[in-house]
């Protein structure tokens, strides 16, 4: 984009892995550094492309988890999927200092610019793009604009467990809740979402196809206008 008039620019950039940390037993956050400043909008994603010596490639999209911070770095959190060609390689082989080809940022729909009320509903690893939004809101002192409801199976499955909890965040445990939880474990329902709904807010729903369908219909049944619900569903993207 932008350079279409002149010679076509190679959209792929070489990023260096500058940090790797565990989020859960099956999810890791990779911090990537690019040669130049990184500009993206919370909610956007990058593509990571792996190339074998014979030219075979495999690429997948990953949502950015970090908020734009004016540096040349960003973070993606990646769930290790069984038989996931790309995610398994990233988890099992990649170490700090490795180079990865990336392309992005991509996406102009599931984005939050930090200036309007938003209700964020994430299931499992669907919290990743929503975390970028929450981090942006907190960094800019506008956490009042956001409500986040995240549903996870158990405390062991919660990404960003040290950072995510806060007055604007609600955590719903579907299978097993912590011992001190006020809410018993169970599937997310209207009573979990109703307190998060704000007038004129746009809703951002991210999760598996099943979760996204359930959550988006809960929102519509709570009178959130259907055109204010933005959905990002993911399937097995390996």
């Amino acid at each position: 984009m932008g350079a279409s008039g002149g010679g076509r620019r190679d959209p792929w950039h070489t990023a260096t892995v500058v940090g790797i940390r565990d989020e859960t037993a099956t999810a890791k956050t990779f911090r990537l550094a690019l040669p130049g400043p990184v500009e993206f909008i919370a909610g956007q994603h990058y593509i990571i492309r792996l190339t074998a010596p014979d030219g075979y490639t495999a690429s997948r999209s990953y949502s950015v988890a970090s908020a734009p911070d004016g540096t040349n770095e960003f973070e993606v959190t990646i769930e290790r999927l069984p038989a996931g060609e790309v995610s398994m390689f990233l988890h099992d082989e990649v170490v700090v200092g490795d180079e990865l080809e990336v392309r992005g940022p991509i996406g102009g729909w599931f984005v939050w610019r930090g200036d309007a009320p938003a209700v964020l509903v994430g299931g499992g690893s669907g919290v990743v793009p929503l975390m970028a939004m929450l981090r942006l809101a907190r960094r800019t002192g506008r956490a009042d604009l956001l409500r986040l409801v995240v549903s996870v199976r158990s405390p062991d499955d919660l990404y960003y467990a040290d950072e995510l909890p806060g007055p604007e965040a609600t955590i719903v445990y579907s299978r097993r809740a912590p011992a001190d939880a006020e809410r018993a474990a169970g599937r997310m329902g209207p009573s979990d979402l109703e307190p998060a709904i704000m007038p004129d807010a746009t809703a951002y729903v991210c999760g598996s196809a099943r979760f996204a369908d359930a959550a988006s219909h809960l929102l519509v049944d709570l009178d959130v206008p259907v055109e204010r619900v933005r959905v990002e569903r993911f399937g097995p993207t390996g």
Partner: protein, 203 residues
């Protein structure tokens, strides 16, 4: 040129590799669901499909009327921009040729903007939806198309990335120019040929 990733060999190349466009993988029996909107609840009793815009006879079909048209089946592969491909799938519906013939595009017609009952849109050159290459489909592998895959009926343009195959399709607006649709305004390619890897604007 792609740069070799240290340590990456890739999984064993499938026998069907020649059927896969560059950068795609075979999803096998799965069929992922990727949609940006709330899945609508559509009733075939009130469902319609329209061809409008630069045509001699703007035409609207009901569910029963469109089923009375000559049926047409596609057997082949589909390719999603998120890099999965599904090989060997069958859709039945009506060829877009049949619908356009009924409406009669005017000589100036060059593109269509497909629109859905949800408000989703996607743009296509007229050439890509004619010549037996596009359908309005309501059956998949012999069963009714499930709602999360665009049922009761979706557009099917299998030689382009699958976001062009608008779910819950409501009609085609025939135009004399190209007008970007939903994903195309949000960074995706205007044509979307998987064999040319036209994934994003600028490809």
């Amino acid at each position: 040129m792609a740069k070799v990733t240290r340590g990456f060999l890739g999984r064993r190349r499938p026998a069907e590799a020649g059927r896969l466009p560059p950068g795609q993988y075979d999803v096998g029996r799965d069929w992922p669901v990727l949609t940006a909107e709330v899945t609508p609840r559509l009733d075939t009793a009130s469902w319609t499909f329209s061809v409008e815009g630069l045509v001699e006879r703007p035409t609207t079909w009901t569910w029963d009327e469109i089923h009375a048209l000559p049926p047409s089946t596609y057997n082949g592969d589909i390719h999603c921009v998120t890099t999965w491909s599904k090989l060997g799938i069958s859709f039945t519906g009506v060829a877009v040729d049949t619908l356009l013939e009924a409406a009669g595009p005017l000589p100036a017609a060059s593109h269509v903007l497909a629109f859905s009952h949800t408000g989703y849109t996607t743009n296509l050159p007229l050439d890509d939806v004619t010549g037996g290459r596009a359908w309005v489909a309501w059956d998949v592998d012999g069963d009714a198309l499930p709602v999360d895959h665009g049922g009761p009926a979706r557009l099917l343009v299998p030689h382009l990335y699958f976001w062009k195959s608008a779910k819950w399709v409501a009609g085609l607006q025939v135009l004399d120019h190209d007008e970007p649709g939903f994903w195309e305004r949000n960074g995706y390619h205007d044509r979307g040929d998987p064999w040319l890897e036209q994934r994003y604007q600028g490809d």
